[in-house]
Subunit: 165 residues, 2 copies
DNA sequence: CTTGAAATCTTCTAATC
DNA sequence: GATTAGAAGATTTCAAG
């Protein structure tokens, strides 16, 4: 299920192009990669089936939606037991302010990436949704000055990833 | 530039649908929202022009690409001056292991989300690309057990965001 | 993997409300 | 000013080689 997949240079080329712009047409992909459009269709369908491509996502600007302030919240959940962390995760995941949630090693159990209107909104969020919860032992808030997406995700340098199956 | 934009219920409905699946056709959007396909085209084009929609992105599974271990690195850069942090950011952004980079308030200046092959790969990355740099004063590594994407990004509850421009 | 054709989708113009 | 209908042009998709 989590095993890596064998990718040839054509797959990698297609993935790089689609990561650059997920709306690139099969015709353009074909011209760029040097195969027929139907081959690109076939490759992309296979990459979807094999789970390499999880989906197509819209990137939105939170500031344009009235959520111009972003922050990371480090949260300790104590005691750190399944019957407490399950509901915690579910609640945090469904908050409209939450963008991403990580379960981590280390003293802080969770990291929550949130997008809010302003500092007052952030204060409300921390007080009403985090520190008010019995299982939340500690919350540390850090504001995000700036963030960057990084280059395309590709297999480690060898070129074809792992041993496949 | 970062001002929020006025969105009516049709825009919000379209955004919700596209965040669910960015490949939804205008025809399907139209049927769901209750307007003509050409209207959907128009709305989406406007949302792009106004900057609400930044682009279309492919979501990939790092594990399937041979990067089954993810981690967050907290980094202190000292002294924290522009002539040092500029090259640092540029270098980290272009690492194939980097997925996202945040400049933060608080004692740790940067948070780097990385995807690597295994713990040996992570050790190499930390030693060769972080602690070996003169301006990196401290690196704290936390492994990611699990991560979740959260619900669709929408304007704060009032329904239409901000005052527009 | 490619060709080629059919179905579907995107996109534009003109007309309408 | 925004929306719709309809038509032309692309694109996607499939079957056959």
């Amino acid at each position: 299920m989590a095993d890596s997949v064998v990718l040839d240079p054509v797959d990698l080329h297609i993935l790089r192009l689609l990561q650059n712009d997920a709306r690139t047409t099969y015709r353009e992909l074909a011209a760029e990669v040097g195969v027929a459009p139907s081959t690109c269709l076939d490759r992309v369908a296979r990459l979807r089936r094999s789970g390499v491509i999880l989906g197509h996502q819209l990137r939105l600007d939170p500031a344009k939606l009235g959520r111009g302030l972003e922050a990371l919240l480090s949260v300790q959940v104590r005691p750190h037991r399944r019957e407490l962390i399950g509901p915690f995760v579910e609640r945090i995941r469904t908050l409209p302010e939450s963008r991403a949630l990580f379960h981590l090693t280390g003293p802080d159990d969770y990291l929550v990436h949130v997008a809010v209107t302003d500092t007052a909104d952030l204060q409300r969020l921390v007080l009403d949704e985090f520190t008010s919860r019995r299982e939340v032992a500690r919350v540390e808030t850090r504001l995000i000055f700036q963030q960057w997406e990084c280059g395309p995700l590709l297999p480690p340098s060898s070129g074809s990833a792992g041993t496949g199956h």
